[in-house]
Amino acid sequence: MNGLRIWAIEFVKKGLLEVQEYVRLCFAALQAVFSRPFYARDVMEQIDVIGLGSLTVVLLTGFFTGAVLALQSGMTLDQFGARPFVGRLISASMIKELGPVLTALMLAGRVGSGIAAELGSMVVTEQISALRALGTDPIRKLVVPRVLAGFIMCPILTVVSDTVGMLGGWIIALTQLRVSSGVYWSSVVEGLYIQDVYMGIIKPFFLGVVIVTIGCHVGLRTSGGTQGVGRATTNAVVAASVLVLIVDFFVTRLLISIFF
């Protein structure tokens, strides 16, 4: 019993230490964004890696999510004779929730793991120490460009995902559900309120930052050689995915209280 208590205390202490270090990293990165030196070239590089590099996976995810949503909801809507409203359902689902969350989850898998593995390898091979020895602050050189790229690219990728999602839904509505294009697209527009669009655009800013900062935090705290890098990669994906869902809930709650 005593052993269990000690284990629980250690577990809580370790958890609090992780949270403390994560918050410290976030503040250091925020401070570094607004002060010199600023590595603009690295920001552009990361926008390419995080943004353009993730385009294929986001396109595929968005398209097939929209398509399968149309298939499934078409069957349900049929029961009420409401098949023409399929566009409304797809646009509301994609823009408000599925687009931001699925894009963020895809980025957590692709970008979060990549950042954790890259920075983790740099830690275990002493490249981070070498950077510091050469007079470069790793937060400014490695963390800030990635955070800015995540902050900028996650909303853009979400818009892309939303768009191809609705396109996927349109193709299914047209070919499988026999809903005409005009009916589908007018239903898409009718189903949206401007507040929904704001929510769908604002949320990815938060989610992008969460994914990247978690990847950086876990990567920079890697220890234990190549095995540690593997562990860090897994931890980054798990933590980022769970946090995406948690942050999504709280930001949604906040935005609802603001907009509605």
Partner: protein, 283 residues
């Protein structure tokens, strides 16, 4: 077995003076959780001299270099580097001190996404206002110095272990540091390759010139660096010869044992020691 105190060095505590040593550790202690890494470590390094830290693996040698760079902070004691109290400085202040220092890490720690040329010119390109053409010239110069000009566009993964260490030396010396730190620069290399790395260390020390601090457990390398010197011939070629007595005496050996300074002295004092631990280490 002498672990000198500050008084024995005869030095003032205020070290921002011309005659001051480039590095001074005064009663430095460091522990990680329960494990004591360094206990009451005191030593100094004078400008232009060579300090060689010997000791078994895990004795705390590499930690000393990390403390000098400010990569770690001591639990107690004071550390002066180039006239600055690095143990009290924050990361931004340390960057200015590190600007005058170079470090060669155990496995080279080259940036694997950058080419050899980009690695070597990294500091000049990213952290100075130097003109790009001047950076290229300096990169060519230092790569020529370590004999690796032809590898300038290769990635570190395409180099052998010895070549990687030599590139690491080139990177460390590119910004003309006052103080160069070598952390096990020859570990894991075959004797012939290790000798070429030792030769580069001697060349950088004598021809650039920089105060050198070496950490190693390879006695052969330590004695080679202590007992050789580099000079240019009339034709401009670099020659490695046996060092004169003065040069040999400028190389100080420090034996670290379980986090303590166990021995400090010259190469000949180390060789003549009858201490059982030192005899065992030297055998």
């Amino acid at each position: 077995m002498r672990a000198k105190s500050l008084a024995e060095f005869g030095l003032p505590i205020e070290l921002a003076e011309a005659h001051a040593p480039v590095v001074l550790f005064d009663s430095v202690n460091l522990s990680f959780d329960e494990k004591v890494i360094l206990r009451d470590v005191t030593f100094s390094v004078r400008a232009g001299h060579t300090k060689i830290f010997l000791g078994a693996s895990g004795a705390g040698k590499s930690t000393i270099l990390k403390l000098m760079l400010g990569l770690l902070k001591p639990d107690s004691g004071t550390i002066w580097v180039l006239g600055h109290r690095v143990d009290l400085m924050d990361e931004a202040q340390l960057m200015r001190v590190r600007h005058h220092m170079g470090m060669v890490f155990q496995e080279g720690a080259l940036f694997d996404s950058l080419t050899v040329g980009e690695n070597v010119g990294y500091k000049l390109y990213e952290e100075t206002q130097m003109d790009l053409e001047d950076v290229r010239q300096r990169v060519d110069e230092v790569l020529g110095f370590v004999g690796l000009t032809q590898y300038i566009d290769r990635l570190p993964a395409a180099l052998s272990g010895g070549q990687r260490r030599r590139v690491a030396i080139a990177r460390a010396m590119a910004a003309k540091p006052i103080l160069l730190l070598y952390d096990e620069a020859t570990t894991g290399l075959d004797p012939m390759t290790a000798m070429t790395v030792d030769a580069e260390i001697v060349k950088v020390r004598d021809l650039e010139p920089a105060t050198s601090i070496l950490v190693t457990h390879q006695l052969r390398d330590a004695f080679y660096v202590a007992t050789h010197q580099a000079q240019r011939t009339a034709g401009g070629e670099i020659q490695l010869v046996e060092a004169g007595k003065q040069k040999v005496d400028e190389a100080d050996f420090v034996m670290i044992r379980e986090g303590r300074v166990y021995f400090e002295g010259t190469a000949s004092e180390l060789r003549q020691s009858q201490d059982p631990y030192l005899l065992k280490f030297l055998s």
